[in-house]
Amino acid sequence: MSSAVGSTSAALGRPFLFDDDAESGGAPVPAAFARSGKAAAVAEDLKKPAGQQSGIEIIRSTISDRKSTIPLTSASRLEIGPAPEMVSSGISAVDHLTGGLPRGCLTEICGAASSGRTSVMLAALAAATRRGEFCALLDAGDALDPYSAAAAGVDLDRFLWVRCGDKTLPARKHLHVDFKHYRFAQSESSQSEYRLEQVLRATDLLLESGGFGLIILDLAEVSSQSARRIPLTTWFRFRRSVEHKPTILLAIEQQPIAGSCSSLLLNLQVPSSHLSALSSTNHAEPFHAHFLSGLQIRAERTRSRLDRKPAHSVRFETTTEWAVSNRKQITQLPNYKITK
């Protein structure tokens, strides 16, 4: 018994189509049945006296034929889709917090500048390339530092970098001629909107192309005001495109903008205690004896559609490139011993 057909019929006050004891008068005729040419025969039969009606039998035989060929499942028996595969984000604290990054879903990582978004992004890139996957970064601000990427362990052969914001291209107005998907309310083209357009178009193309394990939209340099102008339908389209694919779609931004389209939302910030730790360095030493050893980052899981646990946060530290190399040099000294 199809619940969808049944409920519609009930709402209209008509007998159920697939009920065995349905009366012939109010039953709607299926389109396939009407096309088959039997409808005319049934109509003729319905005009006959009750004892001679064979049209109902024809309907029943047709329906039983359809039942046998088309499997019908009631809504109550529909199964919940399988949970997405979770893969490592490259940072164990983040994995502990979220279970990893979900494939086939949109994940948002947001935070202000210097909150560790890029470090998390590069860690995810490095982890994905270590798995042998191809990755793409759509860089709206053209802000990637290649040395940081290399230091994070990103395999540069498996990494596609799309740098948006080329000013040598024709004006944005010209691009609008064949570009209908993204129309913004304001007619004045600002640089960030122009870059945003490029990112969204390139994302569409990459998602359509397929084969990438991780696609990152780096919108951190796009102002929140411009980013909020991205129509929600765009995010729905992205979510739909990436669904059922082994691709992680990751958006880096200042504030959450994808709404309910994102499956996981992480909020990053640098705790104020980090500054006090920096300020407590010995001022008697010259400034070139100080160095930035890293950032303390607090990651909060603001929303997750994958499990219903309450918001939770973790802290982790990133290390600057020179601090890593300095530590390596120290550990390579013969008399160095790790003391706890």
């Binding site: 940072i91 500048a113 498996r158 990438f212 500054l275 930035l292």
Partner: protein, 565 residues
């Protein structure tokens, strides 16, 4: 056994191959210098309405539905190359007998294709796929196969011992090629005429003549013709190795101005090229498109609107008036007619426009090639009307890839190439690709290179998960491109306040600083650089921002190079 592939009416077949739409039309091919052009070949429909080779072009033009095309050496040479490709795709032992004829040995092919009929059918199908309607004949010796292919339409298989019987019904004209020129043609015509006067019109009659008498009258040539008619000549093939040149070209009667009609022609050329490459089990990794351009614009050319004052005429008049010269006399009707009759394209100077499309991997998909060429031409338009299109493909071995069930997915090379070309159209050519770090300490020491989806699998270095994570959690720098110029307040040579005129959110007192560290490089070059770097912490509202501040020692200016994020 030997097979012969023969293309009847070769000039027309070459035109059909270049323009398949012509097959439904009445077609005549002309040759010669204007105004003495003559029709040299026609299709069956043209013959039915009385247009035969030998009449002048002016006479043929009286037929309104007739499509007239000049004889094109380029088209014929492409068709000939396709014919050889077709033969080479079956056997390495191929003789290039004539422009319209190829002979090939069939030894050892029965195990691959089956019976001789099946082999012939396969050859015919392959020729058809290459745009050529061929007669295919199979016989025990090459000359019998050749005569049968010239004389019989479609597929002919002559079993051993029945050569003379099968050839007997053919006319004596099949002994001579259609495409003879000069003295050879004259002597062939004289021989046919002589035989005709004797009443010898078929090979059966020629074969029945007494040998001695025939030799006395026609010499050794007559005897050879008789042996050919009897099918008793035995010889070996003279194999040639077809050059690996894959080129197709179209000469246009009217110049093309828009890219859309150009795409149709490119599609046709690409289909032909890919079919030829495919028949040789090859792919291509480089396409060279050469367009001959004309300075003829169609708007401001006196040839187009003869007699009507054009922009150049007007400017000429202005110049004459400026120098006090009398204006040009108006053209008479006769002069206008003469100017109209002149072909402008021949006189206009031509320039050449070339585009090279190099692919990361060997491919053989005409649709992908077409789209890539379209995107490339959109980004780099030729800039003038096109009068000739020449497309060449560099052959390459097909790539062999071993898939694996447990390997992570990777983008399809063809699809990826198209996607990258489209993205390059959006963001710029040099702004999409893979990164390559250069051997320099320069802060922007990298370059973009082509992104290829097929990467040799590297043997991963064995590392513990902790070591991998320690490497991954590197504090990243987000660069400002170009760097932000800032004003810096110094106290004892150390920055205490930073402000940026361009960005109001980047300003404040320095909460924490480390540095300076001096870097310099390329001092031997014009692009020398020398700088001091500082790491700063600034407060922006509630947030703390970490910046890299750079003091350019050569210019004395301060910049913010990026944020630690």
């Amino acid at each position: 056994m030997f097979a012969c592939i023969y293309i009847p009416n070769f000039s027309v077949a070459a035109a059909f191959r270049a323009e398949p739409d012509l097959q439904a039309r009445v077609l005549a091919i002309f040759e010669g210098k204007p105004p003495l052009e003559k029709i040299i070949a026609t299709n069956e429909q043209a013959k039915n309405i009385g247009i035969t080779p030998g009449i002048t072009k002016a006479q043929a033009e009286l037929c309104p539905e007739l499509a007239l095309r000049p004889r094109s050496a380029l088209q014929e040479s492409s068709a000939h190359a396709a014919l050889l490709d077709c033969a080479q795709s079956f056997s390495p032992c191929v003789e290039d007998a004539a422009w319209d004829t190829a002979l090939l040995g069939l030894r050892g092919m029965a195990s691959l294709f089956g019976s001789l009929t099946k082999i012939s059918q396969a050859i015919s199908d392959r020729a058809s796929a290459l745009g050529l309607q061929a007669n295919v004949a199979v016989a025990s010796n090459p000359d019998v196969a050749l005569l049968a292919a010239r004389g019989f339409r479609g597929i002919t298989v002559i079993s051993v011992g029945k050569e003379a019987e099968k050839l007997s019904s053919l006319p004596v004209e099949v002994l001579f090629s259609e495409r003879l020129d000069g003295e050879e043609k004259k002597s062939a015509n004289a021989l046919v005429e002589t035989l005709s006067r004797w009443g010898i019109r078929s090979l059966r009659a020629l074969a029945a003549l007494p040998e001695v008498s025939l030799t006395e009258r026609l010499g050794q040539q007559g005897l050879r013709l008789q042996q050919l008619a009897r099918g008793s000549v035995s010889r070996t093939l003279v194999p040639v190795e077809a050059p690996m040149v894959f080129e197709e070209a179209i000469e246009l009667e009217h110049p093309i101005v828009l890219l859309e009609p150009l795409a149709f022609l490119l599609n046709r050329l690409l289909d032909q090229l890919c079919a030829r490459l495919g028949s040789r089990a090859l792919c291509t990794q480089e396409l060279r498109l050469t367009l001959d351009l004309s300075s003829y614009t169609g708007i401001d050319d006196e040839c187009e609107n003869a007699g009507i004052p054009s922009e150049s005429d007007k400017s000429d008049e202005v110049t004459r008036a400026m120098w006090g010269q009398p204006p040009k006399p108006a053209l008479s009707e006769v002069e206008r007619a003469v100017r109209r009759s002149e072909v402008p394209l021949a006189r206009c100077p031509q320039t050449r426009f070339t585009r090279n499309l190099s692919l990361p991997l060997p491919m053989l998909d005409p649709k992908v090639f077409l789209k890539l060429l379209q995107l490339d031409l959109n980004a780099h338009p030729p800039g003038a009307p096109i009068v000739k299109i020449h497309l060449a493909a560099e052959p390459a071995r097909p790539r062999s890839a071993q898939g694996g069930l447990f390997l992570p997915p990777s983008p399809e090379p063809e699809k990826l190439e198209l996607t990258l070309a489209r993205i390059a159209g959006i963001v710029g050519e040099q702004r999409v690709g893979a990164l390559e770090l250069l051997d320099t300490h320069h802060p922007e020491g990298f370059r973009m290179r082509r992104f290829v989806a097929e990467v040799a699998r590297k043997v991963p270095r064995k590392r513990t998960p902790d070591a991998e994570e320690a490497q991954s959690t590197v504090t990243a720098l987000r660069r400002f491109r170009p760097p932000l110029r800032v004003n810096v307040t110094l106290e004892n040579g150390k920055p205490t306040r930073v402000s940026c005129a361009k960005r109001k959110d980047v300003q404040g007192d320095v909460l924490w600083k480390a540095g300076p560290w001096r870097f310099s490089g390329d001092w031997w070059d014009r692009d020398a650089w020398s700088r001091d770097e500082w790491d700063l912490a600034l407060r922006n509202g509630e947030a703390i921002l970490f910046y890299r501040l750079v003091h350019d020692l050569l210019s004395g200016m301060w910049f913010l190079e990026g944020t630690y994020d």
